[in-house]
């Protein structure tokens, strides 16, 4: 007998059902014809998708969230990738301390980061602004990118960069012609995941958003707090589809488990 065994497989299947239940249920709900949450729905329709598209605050928040996620991803890559390079290629004193410093924010709950940012941003009038929310998200995405790209750079094929150097390429040319192209799959996966991290970020956004500017998850929380109708399910289907697309890309490139796992 090899593999997992029958009993374990059965227990695992039940556990999987529990994990995936909320997601599956949401997808069914999205096509409900009812005006409130009734499961199973008494009929099916696309009415909640139409309602969703007509909901101005949510659509506006969706636009802002996409905008913020793009800005956050771009900026985080710009500062995170060089930092990861420094950690992996440089041999300098205090390197491990620096690594610890970069990864520390991942250990602090977003609840506390969010609160700290609220205190910090309010006097600077950065709350409920695009730059404020973006900076808030970067406390999560920058450490994440540094961690993931350090692993990517550390696991490049042996000696390939050294070979480039012996062939006459100065360090920055080695990075440009060898390191980055070889780390490209990791880089793309990293960008995709940091987009998701920013797009889905809720707690920090709740602290630093406001009526002037709020992201999609924040608007969703507000909506769910007030009403319970299947519109959020319709929106969720779109988000799940988007997430799935990104996850498939990442899985193809580097493997999701390696990407999100504690390296």
């Amino acid at each position: 007998m090899s593999g997992a065994g029958r009993v374990l497989s059965l227990i695992a299947a039940i556990s999987y059902a529990l994990i995936l239940a909320p997601i599956v249920v949401v997808v069914v709900m999205a096509f409900s014809a009812d005006s409130f949450i009734l499961f199973p729905p008494s009929g099916f329709s696309f009415r909640w998708f139409q309602t969703l598209v007509a909901n101005a605050p949510l659509m506006k928040a969706l636009g802002l969230s996409v905008q913020i996620a793009l800005v956050v991803t771009l900026l985080s890559l710009l500062v995170g990738v060089p930092a990861a390079l420094a950690l992996e290629k440089g041999e300098f004193r205090g390197r491990e301390a620096l690594r610890g410093f970069f990864l520390a924010p991942l250990l602090l709950p977003t609840l506390i980061i969010g609160l700290a940012l609220l205190l910090f941003f309010t006097p600077l009038r950065l709350t409920a602004t695009l730059p404020g929310i973006a900076l808030g998200h970067m406390t999560v995405t920058v450490p994440f990118i540094i961690r993931m790209m350090s692993t990517a750079f550390a696991t490049l094929p042996e000696n390939v960069e050294a070979a480039a150097a012996t062939l006459g390429a100065p360090p920055w040319r080695v990075v440009w012609r060898v390191t980055l192209p070889l780390a490209a799959p990791g880089l793309i996966a990293c960008a995709a995941l940091s987009f998701l991290l920013s797009f889905d970020e809720t707690v920090i956004s709740l602290f630093v958003s406001g009526p002037r500017a709020s992201t999609l998850p924040v608007e969703m929380v507000r909506y769910v707090e007030g009403r319970t109708d299947p519109m959020i399910a319709a929106l969720s289907v779109l988000l799940i589809a988007g997430t799935l697309a990104i996850v498939i890309v990442v899985e193809r490139l580097v493997g999701v488990r390696r990407a999100v796992g504690q390296s």
Binding site: N159, A162, A163, A164, T166, A169
Partner: protein, 352 residues
Amino acid sequence: MAYLELTGLEKRYRDAVAVADVTLAVEKGESVALLGPSGCGKTTTLRMLAGLAAPDRGRIAVDGTDITDLPAHRRNMGYVFQSYALFPHMSVARNVTFGLEERGVAAKERAARAADALEMVRLKELGHRRPRELSGGQQQRVALARALVIRPSVLLLDESLSNLDAKLRQTMRREIRDLQRTLAITTLFVTHDQVEALAMCDRIAVMNHGRIEQVGTPADVYERPATRFVAGFVGSVNVLPATRDGQGGLAVWGMPIPGIASFAQGDADVFVRPQRMRLVAASENVAPDVPRLKGKVAQSIFIGDQVETVVSGEGGQVTVQSLSGAPTPQAGTEVQVVWKVEDTLIFSREAS
């Protein structure tokens, strides 16, 4: 002054000493092997030469110029890595032209030189392929072409053949040696394989514990090893614990070893290579100035063109290697083991 000079090189990793004190001079066009067991510091020495590791002490000079502090990309050394380290995202041709591009060589000349280099390693047709589409031997040749096309001042080979199978290794050995001779390129190569070292170089530097124990021609190192380590590492050898007889001479298994000039104090071992030993019948009269041992044949092992005969005596066992084909004595037969005086090597026993 020699073309390539390493003087007092030292490298530590935290508390571990990788290279203790390496001094070596290599003439232009010469091929020198750094031979030693794994962990002896040979690869670290090579990496320091290429600028991939910074020495803690010592200097490196090529053609009279000190290059100790020069970064790797300005040293102009061709390095062939054990894993080949080909760029997986570039075609074979692009791999070969990489160094030329970095040197700003014009496209036309680049193409011509790369084609020459690939032809030299007999891979002219495969320039468009990706490295992973090549066999191990072909990848090895690409790595060689890539290192040679930049016309390096020194060619460095790091265990370059160890990933190939035995047969291919033999072919590549000859090919690399031929190329090295034709191009008259100064070459330093690292290996733990003594056959490779003996076959591919003009001189061998035997390394142990971060130091060079002996430098010499293959024959020198084999026939006149300077230390116990060299004697044991290069070629196979019988180690025979010696006792002192009354007159300051040495005896093995109770038999005095003739032809030995007086030996310094302390315990010593006699080293004799199995190929230099001969079996003769117990009854045969051996001249008194010929070193000999007496014993019984324990077993004979047929290893192709050679036969190894293990002889047991009162002080232990010796292995005698002889050409196969001749009749071998049965196990249990009383025999004498003889060898020439000049094949006797004596080393004092280390304190450890």
